[in-house]
């Protein structure tokens, strides 16, 4: 079998019609996972529906309350948006780490999320930022938090024919920042052995008033570790709070041992990454003041 049809709809309604019943169709955003999957025999769609001609799917918009990123907007476009990298530096860090310059030129946060790799870089950063998925399907629209969108390794919550339209992130309130860190043996061109995304809010005294901590590559899906966030809230991010957050993520981590690293190492290092990411986010908040 091979791809028999390439369709390039110009609107959401055209896209839904083009996709059809869905079993043999694949959505195409940046293609950096789909085309590799086809090449290596893991994916075999007969119809490919390109999403990049649909304005809504590549738009990046910021209003008073939210940052909205079209599901097919390339990482490069997000990284070079005039506002997003300064508003959400951790999300930018994550997107910048998805492969080479060539890959970030094509890949999208939406595609990275839909591909649902346990090691996807953008997913912990999206979860930490409380991102929501706007989904359009034959039955209408629905909204899901990112942490509920991924249901298993390479499995997402989209029903046949459903389409991820955009990611909606709450616009960070003053005193808020985020950070993403991952561990890879190389500096680039690698898959996370472990990843950590955090978003924290500090009041003027430096006390943490809100925190979300998410980890990647240490469980079948990226995880929101609520106890880690709770350990930080109310603290000045002192050693005791950091230790508690690290202990919480290590307790939540359920990694496997594979070619990218043994389980014990992943559990250890995800704690290090979380504590460094918190420190980075804290430094960003302080720098902004």
């Amino acid at each position: 079998m091979a791809v028999q049809e390439f369709l390039s709809p110009k609107s959401l309604s055209e896209a839904q019609a083009a996709f059809g019943e869905g079993a043999a169709s694949s959505w195409l955003a940046g293609g950096t996972d789909l085309l590799v999957g086809i090449r290596l025999g893991a994916r075999d769609p007969s119809r490919v529906v390109d999403l990049k001609q649909i304005p809504e799917l590549t738009a990046i918009e910021i209003d008073d309350a939210s940052v909205r990123i079209g599901a097919a907007a390339s990482a490069f476009d997000v990284l070079h948006n005039s506002d997003v990298p300064s508003l959400l530096p951790g999300l930018a860090e994550a997107l910048n780490l998805i492969g080479s310059t060539q890959i970030t030129g094509r890949c999208s946060a939406g595609g990275n999320l839909c591909n649902a790799s346990p090691a996807a870089d953008s997913i912990p950063a999206l979860i930490a930022n409380g991102a929501q998925c706007r989904i359009l399907g034959p039955e209408g629209e629905r909204v899901l938090p990112v942490e509920n969108f991924v249901v298993g390794p390479n499995q997402n919550a989209l029903a046949p024919g459903e389409l991820l339209v955009e990611l909606i992130l709450p616009k960070p309130v003053p005193g808020t920042s985020d950070a993403y860190l991952r561990l890879t043996p190389r500096t680039e061109m690698d898959i996370a052995v472990a990843g950590a995304g955090v978003s924290i809010t500090l009041d003027s005294s430096g006390t943490c008033t809100a925190a979300r901590v998410a980890i990647g590559a240490v469980a079948p899906t990226a995880l929101l570790v609520e106890p880690a966030g709770e350990a930080l809230v109310g603290s000045p991010l002192d050693q005791a709070a950091m230790d508690a957050a690290v202990a919480a993520v290590r307790a939540a981590a359920k990694p496997i041992s594979d070619k990218r690293g043994p389980a014990q190492y992943r559990t250890h290092v995800v704690g290090i990454l979380v504590s460094r990411a918190i420190a980075n986010a804290q430094a960003r908040i302080e720098e902004a003041r």
Binding site: V3, F6, G31, V36, D50, F76, G99, Q102, I103, M189
Partner: protein, 164 residues
């Protein structure tokens, strides 16, 4: 089992020239450039976006041609290594790679040329670290990257009009 030959007609500007080609719906741009348009400067080292030898610019965006469907470039502008020199005049990146000995076997060189040109248009004054990260997706097994990076930074200097 006679299968219909399922081809799409695509029009694009390739290295400044309006071009039309036929491709299969699943055919990647790298294959069309090499096999249909005889632009063999776009090299294939992995076919999975991991080596950067097939780097090209699509609407001035640096991508791996092995990870773009040929049908996607309809109406777009594609620049390959063959289109980097301006007539008889080499791009400074090409010239400096030659002067610094920034190539050995040369299989990664077309990709490096395209990626480095994109870097210097994006950032005319990159640090060594910025150049190294931008080019991290262009694998070279021969040079250890030393002379490539030196050549790219020297080309940047030339393009900024500074003496080398």
């Amino acid at each position: 089992m006679n299968k219909p030959l399922n081809k799409m007609a695509v029009q694009a500007t390739i290295n400044g020239e309006r071009t039309a080609f036929l491709c299969s719906p699943g055919q990647v741009l790298a294959d069309v450039l090499r096999d249909e348009l005889e632009l063999i400067g776009t090299k294939i080292g992995c076919n999975t976006g991991d080596c950067g030898a097939c780097s090209v610019l699509v609407d001035n965006r640096l991508v791996c041609a092995c990870l773009v469907l040929a049908a996607e470039v309809e109406g777009k502008s594609v620049q390959t290594v063959e289109g980097i020199a301006n007539g008889g005049e080499l791009h400074p990146v090409q010239q400096k790679l030659l002067e610094h000995g920034g190539l050995q076997c040369g299989i990664c060189t077309p990709g490096v040329v395209v990626a480095a040109k994109a870097l210097l248009e994006h950032n005319p004054d990159p640090t060594e670290e910025q150049a190294r990260y931008w080019l991290a997706g262009n694998l070279c097994r021969c040079t250890g990257y030393d002379k490539i990076i030196r050549a790219v930074l020297d080309a940047a200097k030339t393009m900024r009009g500074e003496a080398a």
